[in-house]
Subunit: 124 residues, 2 copies
Amino acid sequence: MERKTRQRDAIRQVFEEIPRPLGPQEVLDAGREHVAGLGIATVYRTINALLDTGWLVPVELPGEPPRYERAGAAHHHHFHCRGCARVYEIPGCPGDLQELTPAGFALEGHEVVLYGRCARCAAA
Amino acid sequence: MERKTRQRDAIRQVFEEIPRPLGPQEVLDAGREHVAGLGIATVYRTINALLDTGWLVPVELPGEPPRYERAGAAHHHHFHCRGCARVYEIPGCPGDLQELTPAGFALEGHEVVLYGRCARCAAA
DNA sequence: ATAGATGCAAAGGGTTTGCACTTGA
DNA sequence: TCAAGTGCAAACCCTTTGCATCTAT
């Protein structure tokens, strides 16, 4: 990430404009509104570079290709809507997961994903 | 799944012999000890057929290709060891996830994955 | 000027599919 | 017998990489 380029500006801007975890193709589509000829390889390379610098973090949901979101948010989990496939952030955390851990196992982290219908899809 | 074949018997047997979620390649390796010329395409086709019949269920962990296990176990979650990469079943469940769900959202299911070191890797 | 960055196209890795051959009923 | 099932190889999809060209500094 030594140079500032139109492509990288566009990709960073996409993550700042859209406040939910995005996949590479979504980044490409949105990024092309800023830089017409943007290529998918540049999106992948830039995402990986932004992960290295810590500006992005991966959001990996079971059975889904990875999405990415801006780093810096507090500990949170995600709600995956079965209607529109969008992913929403959830502020809370169940806690108390230590008691689920088998004896002798060292718990270092956890992931919680909720599934269902978001407000819009539940109403429809 | 109309016919009983050596290949299908071998694949079902693998899942009965090894009591943890398995990926297609693991099934192929273990299955070849029963049927020498077993092909990966047959493994995939049979896994998909066993999913359709409900004999298998997918175990999808964030950032991992899907594994499969025999259906019928009670509701449970998984512990993913960062040392040996094995996946262990955890009997408990945090519950109380409804209160994490945003207003208006309909909660239908959830997934919990714990990360850390299994007993053997924690001791090493 | 020149090394870093880009875009294209080819290469990789994992999964699915087409097709001729095999085999269970 | 003969359609379902199998194995091989090709096709696919997503991601990474090689390379010639472009561009920020």
